[in-house]
Subunit: 216 residues, 2 copies
DNA sequence: GTCTATACTCTGATAGAC
DNA sequence: GTCTATCAGAGTATAGAC
């Protein structure tokens, strides 16, 4: 996870040395605690008390490191977004089409397994209409998706993958992979709490997309 | 949408006549307004003020019809759940397997298009760990899914559909169809606000599942 | 840097007139 | 049945001692 957090206060030219290891460490602890709470309860549902308890710090101390609840949330989303788009950026136009798409699907699924809290934080935000990341979605993400869609269309035109709507192909990968993180609670309740929700998911999706994409 | 709302207050034996058309109408108005607000902001994010404004009633008047914020939310979820499971119940064991599954997928997609707010209400609830509907999921939904999975496995054993994991097949249909309602904001921002998010979705999923399920 | 005490706002809920 | 006024509690944020 990235962590280029804007420094608070008046960080003039004089004292760059003041950013202690302790400071960095506490910021990380707070962000981790906040991720836990925000992803589980949403922005409004989360309280500073919960975050403070989870972090093992006092409430005012939390506010010493961040300029308020909103600022913590914003920092989390900023950190998240770049990480979230990385797998899509790794699509290689020169690679073998089906393998590239399968690789993307697997990376995305791995992220749902490794970072389920981040996935739920993102899901919460989109569900509420993406008020805090609308700008990034309309610019960065949209451009990235448009580029990828164009690449997929080219591959289809060249007969290297089956002709399918590239946007829905991308959306389907998002939907399937993120479902295992976002709806984990439901899956656990249906399959039993001891089973790993993503067990068998990769094999299933492998079959699904292999059959869909095979040129014919 | 169903609407068997438990009557409030001391509905003794005497006055059954008292449940006016106006009362029923106001309850419907309140539930509709609450659905709008809860689905957009989550349980904690929603306020009675917002619901009252949306309903065009005063806050105390809302509380005259329902015993609190929690009660309104509970009524919505109760109404929702039966409707939500209906499409799955309609799977016909005697029907043609592929057609039955495709029919289920289409009914589910139609629900996302017609009832996106209900879908988001449900998504919000699951995201937060399904605290208020855990019991129903562990019993009713789980049993329904287990039965359906058994049916799907039988069909696969008989060679009438390709052999795929029945649970992941069901989860994939949920994920794909609900994605268009739950992540509608993101899809609109990427494809342009004027496009219907589900445009082309049915055709895509038709191809996807036709190729996956074709016996080989 | 971190804590205790506290100010202030928001929000769910009730009282009571009409 | 519906409203205005108001209370009580929760929750964000600040003051100020240490």
């Amino acid at each position: 996870m990235a962590q280029a957090n804007a420094q608070r206060g008046s960080s003039g030219a004089a004292e760059a040395r003041t950013t202690t290891r302790i400071q960095r460490r506490n910021r990380r602890i707070i962000l981790d605690a906040a991720l836990e709470v925000f992803s589980a309860h949403g922005f409004r549902g989360a309280t500073l008390d919960q975050i403070a308890a989870e972090a093992g710090l006092s409430k005012p101390n939390i506010l010493y490191y961040f300029d308020g609840k909103e600022a913590i949330h914003r920092a989390l989303l900023t950190d998240l977004l770049s990480t979230w788009l990385d797998p899509l950026r790794m699509l290689n136009p020169e690679g073998e089409p089906v393998a590239e798409i399968m690789g993307y699907m697997r990376r995305k699924l791995a992220m749902s397994r490794e970072f389920p809290r981040e996935s739920r934080l993102f899901a919460n935000e989109i569900l509420q209409g993406a008020p805090r990341i609308e700008a990034v979605i309309r610019t960065d993400l949209r451009a990235l998706v448009d580029d990828t869609a164009a690449l997929l269309r080219r591959w289809a035109d060249q007969g290297r993958i089956a002709p399918v709507d590239p946007y829905h192909l991308i959306f389907s990968i998002w939907a399937l992979t993120q479902h295992y993180a976002d709806f984990e609670a439901q899956i656990r309740m249906i399959r039993g709490d001891d089973t790993d929700p993503t067990d068998g998911a990769e094999a299933f999706m492998d079959t699904l997309y292999t059959r869909l994409l095979a040129p014919r």
